[in-house]
Symmetry: C2
Subunit: 372 residues, 2 copies
Amino acid sequence: MVGGGQLARMTHEAGIPLGIRFKILSDTPQDSAALVVNDVVIGDYRDLDTLRAFARGCDVITFDHEHVPTEHLRALESDGIPVRPGPDALVHAQDKGVMRARLDEIGAPSPRHRIVSDPADVAAFADEVGGFPVILKTVRGGYDGKGVWFVRTPEDAAAPFHAGVPVLAEEKVDYVRELAANIVRSPHGQAVAYPVVESIQVDGVCDTVIAPAPNLSEALAGEAQALALRIAKELDVTGHLAVELFETTDGRILVNELAMRPHNSGHWTQDGAVTSQFANHVRAVLDLPLGDPRPRARWTVMANVLGGDYPDMYAAYLHCMAHDPQVKIHMYGKDVKHGRKVGHVNTYGDDLDDVLERARHAAGYLRGTITA
Amino acid sequence: MVGGGQLARMTHEAGIPLGIRFKILSDTPQDSAALVVNDVVIGDYRDLDTLRAFARGCDVITFDHEHVPTEHLRALESDGIPVRPGPDALVHAQDKGVMRARLDEIGAPSPRHRIVSDPADVAAFADEVGGFPVILKTVRGGYDGKGVWFVRTPEDAAAPFHAGVPVLAEEKVDYVRELAANIVRSPHGQAVAYPVVESIQVDGVCDTVIAPAPNLSEALAGEAQALALRIAKELDVTGHLAVELFETTDGRILVNELAMRPHNSGHWTQDGAVTSQFANHVRAVLDLPLGDPRPRARWTVMANVLGGDYPDMYAAYLHCMAHDPQVKIHMYGKDVKHGRKVGHVNTYGDDLDDVLERARHAAGYLRGTITA
């Protein structure tokens, strides 16, 4: 796996029982996965020679992030190394312009959008979609709210153009909430769909995920799953695909983002599903039959732990574990920096209010925003 | 953790989400845990200097096996390194003579037994307990049926004395089945008890575990849990304690063996309990509050995978995973040798017959005894 972040860390955890020999290419020996994986290569994924040396002897290459240059992936394929997802699929998770164009081609519902050339063009786009505000995104390099601008006036529209990357404009959608449809697909063409979840964002960062999404009509849930499966097939995705969605005020779903790797909106599956997204991602990239994606509990809630006031987690652990012997803690071994995702917790049970409260209490305590 | 076997491997897996920096002392780089742990020291646990160098900088030392000499553990404690379980507890899992004497002291029920000095003494012991057959065990060094003799005549009784180790004689108990009571205890004195399980042995090796033990009276189950908790307290055990029991034909329980580490009879907890034995062992040795030991399913079955006809598991994986998308496979990364424990599977559900059948099918297929 290319990348040494928490997704690689948790993929390793899921691969251990499958007897997988797991190797990572990590930026530093202190990266989240590099702390726990046996076979760690330190190097820069942007350097083709490094990537080639890393890939030698691997049965298959997959990813913790979407940042490996497309041409490097093609070079690995030419060397005879299977790359899953492949470069032709992955480009849709790397470039939002390519993603939107392809979704339009296959008739997948998106917010209205187009590539814009300058602030005047943004103003013209705003006119086309009923006025400001609009959303601007650099087509490459954004994540967790970075590379995204919420633009209220033509004067606000200058900043995104400074990076020298094409800029995509999207209408501001009237939505009631965000959903995510997570599916896993193997090269064989087998696919499994997890229950559609609700994803609650705070300041552009995923805060809480509820599985399954409460009060979601069966029809819309089925539509979201079918849409994710169709996108995976049309784009020839291998492995985990997260389709982030808006549920609009008028009852439609629109695709917000795509991620082709295990995803924050699927972390609940570690404790809440028969087979986790990480285990199924491993099974998919190795072309093994996929595991059952069904939930094990009526409700599962995931709450992210952001870096806060506790550099040392031991005291927080004492409280969290004593307060709730059922809470499942997943920490990433990262140095605590303010606002950085350093872990998450999962809770599950029959009563959603209780499950939500327990997840938020544990995450808040680990962060330091709750102290009693 | 001292030792690089599958217990260390699965403890690492359970420690990753807790953000534990896990280091092992392994005999070789090919040992089960050494393949997946980042921080691996290769060395001989019987050598005190090696052990001391390994322990330097560790917050606490625990074990994958019970073979570290007691005097080495005392030396580590003198160096100021917490050893959990400590040498005074661990000796009861190392020396069956010490174990039986101590269990007698605290009034824990054992088969009738005494240390015997020679074959004539074995014959005398047989007379005391109603005649042959009797069981002979070397007090140290036995496991999985090794170091144990089923002796039918005085002439059979010579072999155990050749090792030059004291020999313990035990009556042959009339039992209906074997049970195991697994508990975890922290230095703080907190303890949790898992449901009592039935352990089905084949040729002296654990084959299948059913959780909870079917048709076990609530009274006897409670008695077994209370007994295990009492043994842990009296022997000052830290971490996981497995108490292997006989359920006798006249409705009593008798202690067969003790193990002070995660145990084969607790592997079902990985997929069948809220908190696995491995996670709770880690929490206990770090003196963190313990996790909920309750089952997540009506029935969970664990079946061991012994080395058989498949040196390469890939084809077997294809079948197992396609046949049953719910089966949980746990392989140890070991070279397949005939009869060697190379993995296990867990299944769970509401219908015991179905859950048993699925576990046995998967394990049999991975072993090569079922091919369709």
